[in-house]
């Protein structure tokens, strides 16, 4: 790790860690929702509910927190000043993604730990490793979607807008209610959501079955669209500023 990248990571992590008001609710929220709505699932779906809320945790941290912080940063004079410093702006993005991964890991670990404590799931270590890998992939998509949102929305609009997208996506993706319990019309839409794709990959990880290339493609599609939005938005900001 180069010195500027180390400094960037330290700045990002220290700033976040010293705001317990930010990260404690952020990492606790998915575990709390799991305790209320996921932990009741019994039998076959019990482990899948754990996976669903693990994916939900990824989305919450990656998409929600990221989107909002990017939007706020765009309007922050300090972030402007950082652009006048030497070095690659890429380091700042890497540091952000790494910091995001730290909090994602904690949030996911809490969901999994709670599932085991409540004694409802029986999955092996191999399944957990596979699930962790799915969460890693999902956090890239979620993070890019967050950056796309933050690049388009103003700081004030970012929070309500993120809620407006994030909560329906969680529902549509079958993360709260199992997909088979969704009305058929909703289920049809569900197939195209990134959350459903993340969920399906998570459930495949638990079951140890093959990953459906269709869902991988959906995930890739959302990532590509998000990156395109980010690129266009940044080009537009440069022209208008």
């Amino acid at each position: 790790m180069t010195r500027p990248l180390r400094a960037e990571c330290a700045l990002e992590l220290k700033t976040l860690v010293r705001q317990p008001g930010f990260w404690v609710p952020t990492v606790l929220f998915p575990a709390m929702l799991y305790a209320f709505f996921g932990a009741q699932s019994a039998g076959d779906w019990a482990a899948n509910a754990m996976a669903a809320f693990a994916v939900y945790a990824v989305l919450g941290v990656g998409f929600f927190q990221f989107g909002v912080s990017v939007a706020q940063d765009r309007e922050s004079p300090f972030a402007n000043w950082q652009q006048t410093l030497p070095g690659h702006a890429g380091n700042q993005w890497i540091a952000r993604v790494l910091a995001s991964l730290v909090f994602v890991t904690v949030a996911v670990a809490l969901v999994v730990a709670l599932a085991f404590v409540l004694g409802r799931v029986e999955v092996g270590a191999a399944a957990l490793v596979r699930l962790a890998f799915v969460c890693l992939i999902a956090s890239f998509t979620a993070t890019f979607m967050g950056i796309a949102l933050g690049s388009l929305a103003s700081a004030r609009a970012a929070v309500p807008l993120a809620n407006l997208i994030f909560l329906p996506l969680a529902y549509l993706g079958g993360l709260w209610v199992p997909p088979m319990a969704l009305p058929s019309a909703v289920n049809a839409v569900s197939q195209w959501t990134p959350t459903r794709a993340m969920g399906e990959l998570g459930w495949a990880a638990i079951a140890g079955t093959r990953w459906d290339p269709g869902y991988l493609a959906v995930l890739l599609g959302w990532t590509v669209i998000s990156v395109a939005v980010v690129v266009v938005a940044h080009a537009r900001h440069r022209r208008h500023e």
């Binding site: 010195r3 500027p4 700045l11 000043w81 006048t84």
Partner: protein, 297 residues
């Protein structure tokens, strides 16, 4: 004026920038030589901040060209050689000055001489405290230290001493003069004319987005070598018409090109003045006078 060179710290020609239908900057030229301190002056809304943001590469000009040491403004090479003060809002206030300065030093890849900087800018007592709760003056001193932390050869300072107490202002002026004496270049905006005189050797005056006056302060003073006579008169007495004196409610003021001649004539005409002082015109008044003469009646 000496010939501008390609790799001068700042060479900006014909800058223009508009925001929607508002023309913030329409024709600004700037040149800064090594070891030169330039004061960028102008009323609010004249285009100073927009100009600074183009010089630091944060905004791209719509027209014109900026070279920083021969590199495009905002290019990696230009950024490595320049330092700038951040604005005072939006600091990550969970961090301490030591941490923020250390971060900036890492971005510049220079050794972090934080204790030395803290001593220069009066940060010793707050260097390990978190920024949250800093006063305006403390934030300003941190912002100044951040402009210098990367050992730059060119520094942009936006309103460097607004909100600083007298001792801190003098401390800053000392650091700035020392920096320039060692070959560094400075561009600063300020509303304090005495500060511009104390630190800068040349000025560029902008108004409504255009450069309206530029030059070395010494030359500008020579162009209008005018003195101001200030004196009191007994009540009911007025100075003669030829002096064109104005009364400010307490004392009379008269501007003249040759103060010796004026004084002799005042004595000759037995004007009963007392408490007389003669002083060179303030830079601000010199500039106003030059601009009046240029735009003319």
């Amino acid at each position: 004026m000496p010939q501008a060179r390609f790799n001068d710290p700042v060479r900006a020609l014909g800058l223009a920038k508009r925001f929607g239908t508002v023309r913030a900057v329409s024709r600004i030229d700037l040149n800064v030589a090594p070891g030169e301190a330039l004061g960028l002056l102008g009323p609010n809304g004249a285009g100073k901040s927009t100009t600074l943001s183009m010089l630091t590469g944060l905004r791209a000009p719509d027209a014109g060209e900026i070279l920083i040491f021969g590199h495009r403004a905002g290019s990696p090479q230009a950024r490595a050689l320049t330092g700038a003060t951040p604005q005072l809002v939006g600091f990550p206030d969970q961090l301490s000055p030591r941490e923020i300065l250390g971060y900036a030093a890492a971005r510049y890849r220079v050794r972090a001489r934080i204790d030395k900087l803290a001593a220069c800018f009066g940060l010793e007592r707050i260097v390990d405290r978190r920024v949250a709760g800093f006063s305006g003056g403390e934030m300003r001193r941190l912002a100044l230290a951040l402009a210098f932390v990367g050992e730059p050869r060119l520094v942009f300072l936006d309103e460097p001493t607004t909100g600083l107490d007298g001792a801190a202002q003098e401390g800053f002026q000392e650091v700035a003069r020392d920096f320039v004496a060692k070959g560094g270049s400075l561009v600063l905006t300020s509303h304090h004319w005495d500060e511009i005189e104390a630190v800068c050797d040349s000025i560029t005056l902008v108004d409504r987005g255009e450069t309206v006056l530029e030059g070395r302060i010494g030359d500008i003073r020579k162009r209008a070598s005018v003195s101001r006579l200030t004196f009191s008169l007994p009540p009911e007495t007025v100075p003669p018409e030829w002096m064109q004196a104005v009364h400010d409610g307490a004392r009379w003021h008269s501007e003249c090109a040759d103060s010796d001649k004026t004084l002799r004539r005042m004595v000759h005409e037995a004007l009963p003045f007392h408490g007389l002082t003669v002083a060179p015109l303030d830079l601000k008044d010199v500039i106003n006078r030059i601009r009046r003469e240029e735009t003319g009646p």
